[in-house]
Symmetry: C2
Subunit: 728 residues, 2 copies
């Protein structure tokens, strides 16, 4: 059973009929080019040119309006300028069109006025249950349906769906497939302004599309980051997503009052979030198509272990470096493997991994196939990278070697299915287009002239394989708002909102944490010096006193914190001292009194924080207190909610992780309790959508326990139902 | 006046006559191929095939021995196996040959036995004042002399000298020049085992060679790292050196007893050393030739500021990211520039930098030249990157646009000399080889299909320009051994060596530092408890006591350190306690007594260390004490000697640098004194070649002073004259 959206998108991507609104006889106009392309590419459905001023375009009858077409129309392409779009769209709706591609720019990208018109377009489409691609897009191509609404000719057909926020980058990727691959595209969508259909909706469609084996994306920014993650998370279980994200440099960090706010950079958040969703993120445009091609063609590597087969030193050395950088192991080979290789290679060959045939194939390149077979049969080897000169032996030496290379290609090609392990080949002779390399591609072995690219392709096969192996243990990106809310805590937060407060004072934040099971030492609010003395007596050992005031955020700056208080006199004197300092610091501040809490011993200082990320909603940060967070910015981020596994991964991810294990003879800290606390914080954010930021700074960790020493909660500016629920 | 080495290399690279030893009529043999290539490439000098069993090879008279040739022979190529080389080499020497290329492998790369034969070869050559290229090399090509001793055909002639430790990588680079460039090579040398001629000697020759404008190198390891740096430093003032270094992954860190030893990774040292020598280090093999080509063709960028000119968004966004990552500024344009651009571009064009013509050149690509002129006239702009579709307007739209693109190419080409600013172009249509792009190359504008590569080329132009601008202020790599040695210190060190000690005890290390002007607090050696009490009285305030024993390296582990001692009783008790603990820790240790020193206040902990790097000799390390060095590995390295500027740069380079400026309200520390101390340490290492490692840990820094609290000096194992002087 397909849902409504899938049905609509089916009607668009597999349209039986297309209307071209703005059809033209001027060959420089898009309304001409679109029809010509549909004809050239032999679109099998009906084509309806629409233009009130034309009778025929390219030999096809032209209609004055889409409403004049008798038969149903599945898809419409509007090629006319922005100001004409709205009434034309309304006609499409009345006609019952499933989807409309709007080419024109001049909408949301121009600012507020444009956004208003864009919204009208979306509202119109919604009224008719019609979907929109664009506006401000290069268009859409359903290669499988021979329906090309872009005008880029000869788009090679294949198994990769392409989603791009830039027409130029799409042109890049399509050209690359044309020139250097046997793989191609199932669909291309220029998502444009995403006024209606968005990245995650296309993703959902391609995830369930039988023509698509991999999805490649160029993204400058996401409108619905969390929905995108959810959709990606579902998709990558079955199909790889390969993504290039740009726009890093222009995205500055938000300045915010709390440490967390100041430290959480968007690119850091997206990096870990994408990885958790199983998305393969690519840094270099040169690697985008090859990575997609390789993932669409070859089985993933399940054990991160690769053999390198080379002829000569340099390429093997560079490949070893690059694969190591990519987290791939180049394992020692089994003894039997080395024995078998020794039988067929010359004495000066290197039989360790990387294997260097050292000229041993110069008179018989078939030996490459023998080596490949021996290496793939090795249980330690999860995939094979061949580097160097294969494909060029015939060119370098004599034609007869060409045929041997072709034989080797046929043999190696069949190994892919036989061993279910991938082979990626780097060849210096790719430019010469030898037949042997075309044969390898026929068998789905990918071939690259760039050693960097070939290594990266091995890298993504390994990354995807490792992801699939661990998939079950990961958590999804769905927030169950309010699911674990607690009446008492909800009351504290609602009270603060009713009183118009922007944040919760420390004792309220502590109470919420305590209610959710966090290890927060006892605390008491003292309104007078004598009350403080009485409360301090309840606590065994030394106490700490801190100012409580809604108007004082940075307590230490206000002289509002006193440590290690032992005697009644200490406490009394501290109370008066704190109140005086605070009054001096901010004469207008309302001073509620002092919080009296136990003095916590020295231990490892930890900081945990949360904030609302613009694109992904609630995120959590973990780091070690003091200079490591503030100066070295050594922190780990995750999109919430997190699993226990993710909590543990955050602890391992920071550079200062060894401190948690104990340095200089210290014992390790209580990692279980830290993981518990991270999960509690995750649960609290999920329970109270009114929370904007939390800041637990510091938490002190010991060998067998931890203690939250200070906590702060900032509320959303307008914590009304809507804002609160979508977590933005 | 040329020196002897240059004269010898002149005779080799500009040989008037070449002997091919091992000449053959078998076309599969190197001795055949070499002669055929010399003939094909029309080598203008004399060719002498040498083979006792042949009369003629390829129509040329063959000699039984090189000694039978009547005329002088400048250069010989030995193509025969390793075991035959030595007597043939002796004959070359007797004949007065200037240089011999030895192809065969089977020497030093096979281990000790091979190294012995290799040494015999070197000794033989030295006897005759003859130089050797190789052995174990693909050979040498003097393109300017039409002398090809490798067999790679059609090597394009140009201004780049190529030095490679891998024949495959050389083949890669030469193929790339053939396929995608108008630039080419002046020389190629496969350096092989570098038995005699080494990287730095070739560098010296190419530095002074008028045919060479840039030097590109593939390096797996350096034999004479420091000489290489010295030669590179001299060269890069006039000519860029572009270097790809591999072999990172196999180079593990050395495990060593001191912190410095454990932390100094070779790749980190080479990175900063290469940068200081002005070498452009490339990480990706794909970028190696383009970077060399661009630096050989175009003027460097002096102000790190670049304008981007694009048609469409995606490429401009990615380019902005990549250039920003490379440390390049994309500045706002002058008002007059924006005004001039507005006059020629459509209203939807983006006139800020990046400039997006937004289709404004679709009907007239000449506008690219107008935009380029306007941008290059802007004083803020140091160079121009054009990205996207130039070269493809004719292909996409109509032929007439082709001619306009060619006109634009002619115009832009002439801007290079006129403005002395570089233009690098990225074109999606490079694969189609349009004439306009060939024209750009004719004018030395470099053109790439990869956006990453184009950006990297702008990056290296900027990096080299910035280096040249700052060149004067940098320090060379020459160590003036013993130049500032001090009699007292020399005596301490000589004494230790005579006694067979591996390290200096703390008080001796302190004394050496003190003698060279380092701020080391007073210290006294107490041999009894009562002596300790008397000495402690001389010091105002609290004291620290530490065990003095040549057999105890880690004093704290032995219970050999006591802090904050106030009274006579404290001191007496501490002395006895320390001696007891030390005895228990190592009953065989010789205990000389305790060092009594003032207790230094809390401040910022610093670590300074030195060690002898395998490839580069003495290096210095700087970091902040405690977890930042030990856990986060946040350290800066420099090859010694260092300048004051370098000392200051090290302080800025570490991630924890803000701590030196004062965090959490602390005042900044005394950077001048830290710089002084780094220079003192540099001076000490230079003065006493016997020193293997120094470890100043910690040094405590305050607002107006610093204090060395602990110091250790380890001596070289065999601190004899020879080892000591070459610093290895």
């Amino acid at each position: 059973m397909k849902d409504t959206m899938t049905n609509q998108l089916d009607r668009i991507f597999h349209a039986q009929s297309v209307a071209v609104i703005g059809a033209s006889r001027d060959d420089k106009k898009r309304g001409f080019q679109a029809i010509r392309t549909l004809l050239d590419e032999e679109f099998e459905g009906d084509i309806y040119p629409i233009n009130p001023n034309e009778d025929m375009v390219l030999g096809i009858k032209c209609f004055r309006s889409i409403l004049d077409v008798e038969k149903p129309v599945d898809c419409a392409l509007i090629t006319t300028p922005a100001k004409t779009v709205l009434p034309l769209l309304d006609e499409c709706g009345r006609k019952g069109v499933a989807g409309v591609v709007i080419i024109a720019g001049g909408f949301g990208e121009l600012g507020d006025r444009g956004r208003k018109i864009e919204q009208e377009i979306v509202d119109t489409a919604k009224r008719y249950n019609m979907r929109i691609i664009g506006p401000n897009t290069s268009g859409m191509i359903s290669v499988v349906n021979r329906m090309n609404l872009v005008g880029i000719r000869n788009v090679p057909k294949g198994n990769i769906a392409l989603l791009s926020q830039s027409g130029n980058i799409a042109l890049n990727l399509i050209t690359e497939a044309q020139l250097r691959s046997r793989q191609g595209y199932s669909y291309y969508v220029g998502v444009g302004n995403e006024a209606d259909l968005k990245f995650h909706e296309y993703l959902n469609y391609f995830a369930n599309d039988k023509n698509t084996k991999a999805i490649v994306m160029y993204v400058e920014g996401l409108r619905e980051g969390r929905k995108f993650l959810q959709e990606a998370y579902k998709t990558t279980r079955h199909k790889p997503i390969i993504l290039l994200k740009s726009g890093r440099s222009s995205t500055g960090m938000k300045s915010a009052g709390s440490h967390t706010g100041a430290l959480a950079g968007i690119s850091e958040v997206s990096r870990t979030a994408f990885r958790r969703a199983g998305i393969i993120t690519i840094e270099s445009a040169d690697e985008l198509f090859p990575a997609a091609e390789t993932l669409a063609c070859l089985p993933p590597i399940r054990n991160k272990r690769v053999a390198i087969l080379a002829d000569g030193g340099g390429h093997a050395t560079i490949a070893s470096d690059l694969l190591t950088d990519l987290g791939i192991e180049i394992p020692a080979l089994e003894d039997s493997t080395v024995r078998k290789l020794r039988e067929i290679l010359p004495p000066n060959a290197s039989l360790r991994n990387p294997v260097d045939v050292a000229g041993g194939t110069d008179s018989n390149p078939r030996i490459f196939a023998d080596c490949a077979r021996i290496l793939l049969e090795d249980k330690r080897v999860g995939g094979l990278l061949i580097v160097g000169l294969f494909g060029g032996y015939g060119i370098r030496f004599s034609e007869s070697l060409t045929f041997m290379e072709e034989d080797a290609a046929h043999q190696m090609g069949k190994f892919i299915d036989k061993y279910n392990k991938p082979i990626v080949l780097h060849s210096l002779y790719n430019y010469a287009k030898p037949h042997s390399l075309e044969l390898l591609r026929y068998y789905n072995i990918t071939v690259y002239e760039s050693l960097d690219v070939a290594c990266k392709c091995i890298g993504v096969l390994s990354q995807y394989g490792a992801y699939l192996k661990k998939y079950q243990q990961r958590s999804s990106f769905i927030l169950n708002w309010k699911s674990k809310a607690n009446v008492k805590c909800q009351k504290i937060i609602s009270g603060a909102i009713q009183e118009g407060r922007a944040s919760l004072p420390e004792h309220e934040a502590r109470e919420i944490l305590r209610q959710h099971g966090a290890p927060v030492p006892e605390d008491y609010l003292a309104r007078t010096g004598e009350e403080a003395v009485a409360l301090a007596r309840r606590i065994r050992g030394e106490v700490v006193m801190k100012i409580v005031s809604p108007d004082i955020l940075h307590k230490s700056d206000a002289g509002g914190v006193r440590l290690r208080l032992k005697t009644d006199d200490d406490v009394r004197e501290a109370f008066n001292g704190i109140m005086e300092s605070a009054k001096k610091y901010n004469p207008k501040a309302v001073l509620e009194g002092c919080l009296v809490t136990p003095m916590v011993d020295r231990g490892v200082e930890i900081i945990i924080g949360t904030k609302i990320d613009d694109q992904f909603g609630p995120v959590i940060m973990f780091g070690l207190g003091g200079i490591l967070v503030e100066v070295v910015k050594d922190v780990a981020f995750r999109v919430l909610p997190i699993s226990r596994k993710a909590a543990r991964a955050m602890m391992k991810e920071i550079k200062s992780a060894p401190i948690l294990n104990g340095v200089r003879g210290e014992p390790p800290v209580d990692r279980n309790s830290i993981a518990d606390l991270l999960l509690v914080v995750s649960e609290i954010v999920e329970s109270y959508p009114e929370i904007q930021e939390m800041d637990l700074n510091p938490v002190i960790a010991f060998e067998h326990s931890i203690a939250v020493v200070d906590a702060r909660i900032i509320l959303k500016k307008k914590a009304n139902g809507k804002n609160a629920h979508n977590g933005k």
